[in-house]
Chain length 320, copies 2
C-alpha cells in the first residue's frame, strides 16, 4: 500500500544530512553532503539535488508519495523561509532557502531552526508524543530551545521566539557570543561546563585528573566521564551546571507551565549524571504549585537520527 | 436590531463588580456587591443573582441575547472552572464556581484569573486589538501576567501558566509571599516599590519628603507623585523598579518574542514616569535581534472598566 513520506534535511556547519522518513519515524534512506565544501550556494543546491533525487525516484517507483520537505538549519526563519546571517554556514546574509529548494524539487518546503526542529521531532516521534505543552532544551556547543504550547511551536511575532539560551541568569556574568553577559548558555552547554572546569581549576586546590592536563583534553565529554569515575572537581562542575540549569528551568515553568521539559544533545547524553541533580534544583526552586509536577526527561530520539527526524516532522505539520 | 451581549463578573477580595457588555466594549449597565460581606458562599451566590437578574430581564426585554458569562477571579482555574485556595477571598479550598453560576443563570460560563482576563480584555477592546503575540503585565499589590501566543491565552498543561511575578530575578533576594526569595513581584509592584523606598531611606542620607513621614504615608502613589515633583529618593525608587522590570522583560522577550508588552494597573498609571525608563532598560538588556523592536505600552482600558471588560471578553472566545 502506498504511504505518505517526508524528506528531512538538516543543514549543519560541517555536513548536511538528509533522509526519507515515514509517518512513524523510520528513516527509509539517508545520505549526506559536505556543507562547508560548497562556498557557492548554487553549487551546494546542485549537490543537494544530486544527493536527494535518486531517493525521490525510488520512492516514486514504489508508488509512494512525498508530501513535502522539512529543513532544520541554524538561524532558519520559519516565517520568511530564509536562513539569516548564520555565523557557521558558508553563505552570508539572508538566503531564501525554501524558495530555492521548492524550485528544485517542486514540493512544499518548510524551514525552522534546529532546536525547533528537535522539538517537533520529539513531539512527532519521541518522548513528547501526545504532549501539547513542553519545552525542548538542546545542549550542544550552545543552548538551544523549542517551546510548544497548545500543540504548536512558539514562533512569536517575528519567528525568533524560544531563545532560552540567551536568558540572562547572572548579572555581570560570563561574556556570551551574543555580546551580553551572563546568558544561560555561557554556563549550561558543552563550552559552558568547560569554562566552569577551568574556573574551578584556578579557584580550588582540589586534586583532579585535569589538574595537569592539556587544555584541549578538557571537554564536556571528558568532564562527564571523569565525574562518573568519581573525580571530585568534575562532579562539582556538573553540579554547578545542574544548579544553574535547574534554577533557570524553574523560572521557565512559571512562563508556560509545561507538562515536561526534555533535554537533548551532547551534555544530556551524560544521562542521569546531569538530569538527576538538575531535577532536584528545579524542584527546589520552582513555585510550590509545580513542585514535583513537571517532568524532566531525556530525549527518546537517537542522536544520529534526530536531525533528519526533526526536519522531516515539519512536513506532517504542513497544511494540506 | 438585536445584538449579542456578554456578562462580565470580576471577583475581588473587597467587591464583586459586574456588567453587561457589547461587542465593542461598551458597558451597558453595571453594579456591584460586597464580596467580603458574604462569608457563606450560597448567600454570596444569591446576592450575585439578585444583582445581575434585573439586567438580564432588561436585556431580554430589549430583544437582545446574552451569549454567556465571563468571570475573572484571583486563582481562577480556567480548565477546572474553579477558584482554588484564593488567600484574599472569604471561601476556602476549591470552589466549583462556573458550575454554581451556570446553575443559577443557565448560561455558558467561563472563568480565568484576573491577569489573564486583563490580557483578553486588552486583546478584545484595548491596546492589543489585532495582536496575536503579547504579554500583559498587571502591576497591583503583586505582579500578575497574561501571555498571548498565536492569538490564544497561554494556560499551560495545568491552567496556571503566566506567573511572571514569581520569576526569581535576584538570588537570595527579598522574601516573597510565595515563600521563596527574589521573585519579581517583591520588587516590581505597589508593595515592592514601597519596600524599595524603605530600604533607600535606611541606606542613604539623601533628603526626601518621606524622611520623617509616617510609614502609612509611603505608598506607591505617594512615591510616584513625589518623584514627579522632583524628590530625589523617590526618583531613585522608580528607577530601581524600572531597571528590575526592564531586565526581566528583556528575558521574557527571549521566551515568546512578543509584538508588545502592555502594562496595566496602579503603578502603570504613573504613565511615562515608569514606562520610559523601563523601556530604556529593556532595550539595553535584550538580545540584539529585539532591540528597539518590541513595543512597551500602557493599557488603553479605563481602570474602572477594565475588570468587567476583561471578564466579559472571555465570552467572545467561547466556542459556539
Amino acid at each position: 500500500m502506498s504511504q505518505p513520506l517526508a524528506v528531512g534535511i538538516d543543514i549543519g556547519g560541517t555536513n548536511t544530512v538528509f533522509g526519507i522518513v515515514d509517518r512513524r519515524g523510520n528513516i527509509l534512506s539517508q545520505g549526506s553532503i559536505k556543507t562547508k565544501d560548497h562556498q557557492d550556494l548554487s553549487l551546494y543546491m546542485d549537490a543537494l539535488h544530486q544527493g536527494i533525487a535518486p531517493f525521490l525516484d525510488r520512492v516514486n517507483g514504489n508508488g509512494n508519495k512525498i508530501k513535502g520537505i522539512g529543513i532544520g538549519a541554524p538561524n532558519g526563519n520559519h516565517y520568511q523561509g530564509t536562513i539569516e546571517f548564520a555565523p557557521n554556514l558558508p553563505w552570508k546574509g539572508v538566503i531564501p532557502l525554501t524558495n530555492l529548494v521548492q524550485e528544485q524539487f517542486n514540493l512544499p518546503v518548510e524551514i525552522t531552526n534546529d532546536a525547533n526542529a528537535a522539538a517537533i521531532g520529539e513531539m512527532t516521534y519521541g518522548a513528547a508524543r501526545g504532549m501539547k505543552d513542553f519545552i525542548m532544551i538542546t545542549l550542544g556547543t550552545g543552548l538551544g530551545s523549542g517551546i510548544v504550547i497548545n500543540g504548536q511551536l512558539v514562533y512569536g511575532h517575528d519567528g525568533f521566539a524560544g531563545e532560552l539560551g540567551h536568558v540572562i541568569v547572572k548579572e555581570e556574568g560570563r561574556l556570551c557570543g551574543c555580546g551580553r553577559y551572563g546568558c544561560l548558555e555561557t554556563y549550561v552547554s558543552a563550552t559552558g561546563i568547560v569554562r566552569t572546569m577551568h574556573e574551578l581549576l584556578k579557584e580550588k586546590e582540589t586534586d583532579s585528573v585535569f589538574r595537569n592536563s592539556n587544555s584541549d583534553d578538557i571537554t564536556s565529554k571528558s568532564i562527564c566521564d571523569a565525574a562518573l569515575e568519581g573525580d571530585q572537581l568534575s562532579k562539582e562542575a556538573v553540579d554547578i551546571t545542574a544548579r544553574i540549569l535547574g534554577k533557570a528551568l524553574a523560572n521557565y515553568i512559571a512562563f508556560s507551565a509545561p507538562e515536561a521539559i526534555i533535554l537533548f544533545g551532547g551534555l544530556a547524553r551524560a544521562g542521569d549524571l546531569l538530569i538527576n541533580p538538575t531535577r532536584k534544583y528545579m524542584n527546589e526552586n520552582v513555585l510550590q504549585i509545580w513542585k514535583d509536577k513537571v517532568k524532566l526527561i531525556n530525549s527518546e530520539l537517537k542522536e544520529s537520527d534526530a536531525a533528519i527526524l526533526g526536519a522531516s516532522a515539519l512536513v506532517w505539520e504542513m497544511k494540506e
